[in-house]
């Protein structure tokens, strides 16, 4: 597996390269700013681009704009955006173009090495990984007459994990219940929210994220 990295902090960039190398993932190119990202993506056609949000020249949402440019010019390139702060609005922008091969995580998740590597592999394979904090923010936001109010606490937990892009098996392991119980929760959730019951992980995530106002 080959990745490119856009990150302005040398310390973190080297750390990432080493951490990926430990897991047998090769870093083929790195840049330290936003505009350079598209160039290395076009040059190397990597399996995944890992991008920091805040980079020169503007130090605002440079990396996010670079990621959107990549999605526009090289659609199908999986992208993982790392952010010092999780902001739902960034996630909304990123997922606006579809949830195929997209990740949005807090930078500090890098320190949970196994989980991070797992997320990298899932995104490169076309999955979706959204930081639990974004989902928390989305679930915490209320609109008047929100059907989310009708969910039990357990169902809300399941919805949160589902929105992060977890599979039924992973959710079952997380909550220490059987996969059958998870499936039952999910069908209840879909009924309460008035969503079409969707088969398979990916379409399901899309439905949930769309419901939560992402994408």
């Amino acid at each position: 597996m080959r990745v490119v990295i856009a990150e302005d902090s040398v310390l973190l960039r080297e750390g990432l390269v080493r951490l990926l190398a430990d897991a047998g993932i090769e870093t083929v190119a790195t840049v330290g700013d936003g505009p350079g990202l598209l160039g290395i993506v076009e040059e190397h056609a990597p399996d995944l681009a890992i991008v920091d949000v805040r980079m020169p020249p503007s130090y605002t949402d440079e990396g996010l704009r670079a990621a959107l440019a990549v999605r526009e010019h090289r659609p199908g390139t999986p992208i993982l955006v790392l952010s010092q702060y999780v902001e739902e609005r960034y996630a909304t922008d990123l997922i606006g173009g579809g949830t195929q091969g997209v990740g949005y995580l807090l930078k500090e998740r890098v320190s949970d090495v196994e989980e991070f590597i797992d997320a990298v592999r899932r995104i490169a394979a076309g999955g979706t990984v959204i930081d639990p904090e974004v989902i928390g923010q989305l679930l915490g936001r209320r609109r008047s007459g929100d059907p989310l109010e009708a969910l039990t606490p357990r169902e809300r937990e399941v919805l949160g994990l589902m929105a992060q892009g977890r599979s039924n098996g992973a959710i079952a392991a997380d909550l220490v219940v059987t996969e059958g119980a998870v499936e039952k929760h999910i069908s209840n959730i879909f009924m309460k929210l008035g969503l079409q019951p969707a088969q398979g992980g990916h379409r399901r995530v899309m439905a949930v994220l769309a419901y939560l106002g992402l994408g």
């Binding site: 949402d61 702060y85 902001e87 739902e88 609005r89 500090e108 928390g136 915490g140 936001r141 008047s144």
Partner: protein
Amino acid sequence: MGELSRDAGAAGGGAVRWAAARWATATRAGDGSASVMNRSWHPLAMARSSLTWRSALYLGVSLAWGLGWFVVLAVGLALSVGLLIIWVGVPLLALLMVAWRFGAVLERRFVLAAFGVRIPAPYRRMPEGRNPLAKLKGMAGDPATWKDLVYLAVLFPVTLAEFVVSAAAWAATGTLLFLPVIVAVGGGAEVNFGVSYWAGNPVEALPVSLLGLALLVPAMYVTRAMAMTHAAFAALMLGPSPSQRENAALRERTEHLRASRARGVDAAEFERRRIERDLHDGAQQRLLAVAMDIGRARAKLDEDPEGARALIEQAHAGTREAISELRDLARGIYPAILTDRGLDPALSGLAGRAPVPVEVEVDLPERPPAAVESIAYFIVAESLANIAKYARATRASVRVAREDRWVVVEVIDNGVGGAVARPDGGLAGLADRAATIDGMLIVDSPPGGPTIIRADLPCTW
């Protein structure tokens, strides 16, 4: 609504803060006291307004007041100027000067009582101390004293003219209006307007009353016109000159700016102390503990690998806590998303992280200046933090809207209420920050709730 100002003991003085806040209110609301200068001209409204009748009374009886001053001044000045040769004139003249200054002070009161027009005293400050001679010298050197004299001297012809016009207007109106009463008391009466009309009893006099009612309107208008003229003349002669007014306004504004600058400096200092404290108590201590754990793990590595592993786990958890603390601290200093995307996303993020459901509504046609955005954001952040800590609320709402030149921020919760802005508390600091841009913060939190925190921030786009 309670104004938010720190206790009077705080640096800078509560009165100044209070005045600054009041000044902001006044400039926002406009000064709306009723006087003959700004009341409606509708006949019914005028008849209902006590100002009309107070003016009529003053204009009718002020001749005595004007005549009195004319006599006092004519006699007094003639005497004292005549006696200046033998020095007796000097104290006499001084006495007269004190008297007419007092008369001018009274006249200002009368003008306020009769016409509702407030004339500020234009006098210079008296010299300090108890020396009466110095005070008299100060009085004689003040141009306002001599303007008082001129005003009181010409008051006689002015009031005479007013009396003549008032008497004519009101005597005719009154006689016609109350003719039935007059007829009832004194027998028949003849009214002659080129056409003679004889009213032998009160019922026959009623049509004349209607005529009197019609005459009431021009009488009121004449009175109103005279009242306005008199008040304008009094304001010109007894009030501060334009340059004095400008000076007073500038002084007030300077004082206001000085106070708000002081508050801004205080707020910034307070904020820096808070950041230093948070860093010291939080991330620094955590990282120190992590360093100790790693040091112990290094020491144990050879003889106790299991113990070392546990310590490394602990250190790992500690670094993660330190990172998330630093993240929250940095976001508290300045949220990056605010710069990138503005208030709506930034406030949605705040609401999403709040422990209770928060509805956010941001209605701004375009982005306000950065200072306004930042203050608005921190007001919401602090309010939501307070709600989480003290309010025991189950829901809250945040509204930000543009109201002509102002951005209004409102945070409402359904908690227990009783919120007060303690000196050195977060809310007081926010009020200080708002004051730096001439904004103001109002906390309305009766015991039992709901609590409303509202900030009005001026914006000129």
